[in-house]
């Protein structure tokens, strides 16, 4: 499933760091576009995929506050 993080809302640095941090535990990839960063978390069955995706979004928000 693709999650699009709008660059006008989410700091790109925070999204990229979250991707790096999660890359050690899940199959995750991202693609940078002009307006957003797309993130895919793969090879995780439902319902765990939704949980991990949700935690990823929250973690990104946390990084925005922390950085």
């Amino acid at each position: 499933m693709e999650y699009r993080f709008d660059k006008s809302i989410y700091k790109p640095r925070a999204v990229k760091k979250a991707v790096r941090d999660y890359s050690g535990v899940v199959d995750i990839k991202s693609k940078d576009s002009d307006d957003y960063i797309s993130v895919w978390i793969e090879n995780i069955p439902e319902p765990e995929a939704e949980v991990i995706a949700g935690e990823f979004c929250n973690y990104t928000l946390f990084l925005m506050k922390a950085t």
């Binding site: 699009r4 929250n58 928000l61 925005m64 506050k65």
Partner: protein
Amino acid sequence: MGKNQVVEVDIAKDRLTILVDKSIYKQEAILNATYFYIDDFYVFLSRQDEEIIKVELRSKEKMNKSSMEKAGGEFYNNLLAEALRLEVGKTNKRMRERLLEQAISSAMSPPKPKAEPAGSGKVAGKESAGIELTDELKKIIERTKDVSYEDDPLGISTPIDDQRE
């Protein structure tokens, strides 16, 4: 459709969708308000259009409709609180910076000069270089310039037992 509203409560998916008008609430206030929810919800923000930010809250635990709607209402209260906090912070920014400047300046002030001889009526080191004195500080200095610690107007140096005798 109104611009600020809870547009969808999807009980089956434990999802709450809220629209927020950026022309009323600053984006920073919206982000700050969402931080209250990351313990109990998964939070995702997206842009619906130039003026509207869509906030999706997905509950980590099963919730009933009433609780979801309550969370939606509370979101706006938190949003208002954050908006107010930003405004107050902006107003007080200059005062905070000034206080910080004085504190740092005071910490970095040069060593105090030698103490004046006892009984001279003068108190050394009242004005340190680098500190901009406020009117209040100037008044205090004026009132105390002829006071020596030896005068001890409040009787602080006298032990309590001696005072009772």
